[in-house]
């Protein structure tokens, strides 16, 4: 292995600071692909809404603004607890980090429960993705978003377990920062979905 000229047995990356910065940059690159994944749906939304404005206006009335608004508030609160979690571990407060991670997970679960009842209510009224272009977009956009909430909750749960095991400190919290970035993106996408789907005037 010597001929290669690099130490393949190194347990560390080049340098902890470089590792931290490179990990964050990698996460931002991943978030860029996420933005473009939703971007295709946003493009479809823009075209169909411009083509059929009356249909979008009529059909969106079937959606419950109150549940939409409550879920917006829930996600904004979850973003706050996530940000506070990062701030806690930066100051070395490990227990506070676990508490804030738990709160963030709970907010995520509340969001999912609301969405479950919302979808159930639509199906009871025989509204499906095949009902219209508006509802096809509604189910695709909120469904893809809900998958991200689910993935986020799983990631945060893994982070909570590691946090309870004492894996993080003020000197090492890269996974918390990255998990936080992902969770905030999920909030950011919903910030656009809420007015575009629920508040068509």
């Amino acid at each position: 292995m010597e001929e290669i000229g690099i130490d393949v047995h190194a347990h560390h990356h080049v340098d902890p600071v470089v590792e931290y910065k490179a990990s964050k940059l990698g996460m931002w690159l991943f978030l860029a692909t996420e933005l473009l994944l939703f971007g295709g749906l946003f493009a479809a939304y823009a075209i169909f809404r411009a083509k059929y404005p009356e249909m979008f206006h009529e059909e969106h009335k079937e959606l419950d603004r109150t549940i939409g608004a409550i879920n917006t508030v829930v996600l904004i609160c979850s973003s706050l607890t996530m940000a506070l979690g990062v701030a806690s571990i930066q100051r070395g407060k490990k227990k506070l980090l676990s508490l804030f991670l738990l709160l963030t997970i709970l907010f995520g679960i509340v969001f999912g429960i609301n969405k479950y009842f919302e979808y159930g209510h639509k199906f009871e009224h025989h509204i499906y993705p095949s009902t219209s272009i508006f509802f096809a977009l509604y189910f695709m956009m909120t469904g893809l978003h809900m998958l991200h909430v689910l993935a986020g909750v799983l990631v945060l749960t893994a982070l909570l377990i590691l946090s309870l095991k004492g894996k993080f400190s003020e000197n090492y919290y890269t996974p918390i920062e990255l998990g936080g970035l992902y969770w905030h993106l999920v909030d950011l996408i919903w910030i656009y979905l809420f007015p575009l789907l629920y508040l068509i005037s």
Partner: protein, 100 residues
Amino acid sequence: METKAHIEEHHVGYTTYVLVWLALMVLTGITVWVSYLHFGVFNIVVALLIASIKASLVALYFMHLKFEDKTTWIFVLYPIVLLALLIGLTAVDVFFRTTP
């Protein structure tokens, strides 16, 4: 970590986060209220404007973008340019296509 790494980073205070959260809550209220008013086509413009202010607050403070270096900013702005191209060019195709 044995290596005592000093990460040169700006640590945002708890108070700042709470203030950003408050601003997000107020803006959510405004976006719901505005949707009951009638500005015609400007409703969607206002809704997207408020959403973009909210998204910027989340990115700048919660995601610490305000304190990131130029490289990170390029990684953020480039996909937004791509998204604008995707939506813009699709719109041009759909609305200016002439059927022979």
